[in-house]
Symmetry: C2
Subunit: 217 residues, 2 copies
């Protein structure tokens, strides 16, 4: 039986189990044995693929990141050929909000890792690059909208991008905390886009994110 196993695949299997544990009971409940049990493998196997717990955590963090990226790319791809900046931004950001249970689970894990990395700065390096790229992209879209005359040109695209991404992150945090219902968050997101890009064309207004067919990533 041995030797013919995909190393990366096993690691993802374990990381997935870790995320399930973390989503349900928090990162504090993540132990070698719990993860192993959740993945239905022996704890020896977990040790075989991750020499230390920290290695496992770091890998899981990268998986979380990639999941988010995959979500966004899929949602954006579903928009078809070059969508308007507004549609693009709204789709991206709404996709990153924990609006259904699947995304809530991911969100809880992400939030846990956020707290985790806040105390272990060394692990956070990868996140910085991603944030920087996202910010650059968002700023680009805002600039495009301004050039097309759709947006007020008084706002600095870079600052607006930082604010817009922060809105999304903050809404996500409050949603996870159950401070308000999803509609409130979506309303605030749309209001923010209105502020930045001017009122939306009526067809767009309040349109839901396209339905996502069930998948087992």
């Amino acid at each position: 039986m041995p030797k013919r196993v995909d190393h990366q695949e096993r690691r993802k299997l374990i990381a997935d189990a870790l995320m399930r544990v973390a989503a349900e009971r928090g990162l504090e409940a993540v132990s070698l044995r719990h993860v192993a049990a959740e993945a239905e493998v022996s704890s020896g196997m977990v040790q075989h693929y991750f020499r230390t717990k920290d290695e496992m955590m770091t890998f899981a963090l990268s998986v979380v990141r990639e999941r988010g990226e995959a979500r966004v790319t899929r949602a954006v791809a579903a928009l078809g050929e070059d969508p308007s900046p507004r549609t693009l931004l709204r789709t991206m950001l709404a996709e990153l909000l924990p609006l259904d249970e699947a995304r809530r689970a991911d969100g809880r894990v992400a939030l846990a890792f956020l707290a985790y990395t806040a105390v272990r700065p060394a692990v956070a390096a990868g996140l910085h690059r991603e944030t920087a790229e996202l910010l650059a992209f968002i700023a680009g879209q805002i600039r495009a909208a301004q050039a097309a005359g759709a947006a007020e040109t008084r706002v600095d695209p870079d600052r607006a991008a930082v604010a817009l991404l922060a809105v999304m992150e903050g809404l996500g945090v409050y949603l996870l905390g159950g401070h308000y219902p999803p509609e409130t968050a979506l309303g605030a997101l749309d209001a923010q886009l209105d502020l930045l890009l001017g009122p939306a064309p009526p067809a767009q207004r309040g349109r839901a994110v396209p339905p996502r067919r069930p998948s087992k990533p």
Copy 2:
């Protein structure tokens, strides 16, 4: 010696130690013994004042909330008699951002508790009330600014309040993660206020929060 002790004071002493541990090494490192050691008391004493660890955590969470509130009220009080809505909002929100090391430490603890409560919904009840109050207050200020003609009346105050608070929370999270420097966060906050309330009067622009004298709360 016994009998003449202020119960509440001891509990705060312990909670403070807990927050120091959590700020440095995360909530996972918070154990009865660690907290006791940090507070320089016996672990028996900790058990005397908190019958279970959960009771201690819940109390610490309430202390975190109160600290934040105290910070804001102090900063706002320093503004003097009825300041403009814009000044008020900017002062409040900037005070809640982790811009110096003291507030970063508090922020790390708050973030850790956010992840903590996301998995234990029962504990989060108190937070909801506070958020709701804050939102109502912010919305009120925005309404006031609109009535005074300072702000564009096209934005819905309630939605704008949700977005504004989310901006602050999101900026805080990214700051704690070290994704960008404090100036970027402050820039985005000001940009957001510009969007909501119109450009700031020149005297206000970029003015720093009044210096906070060192204190041992």
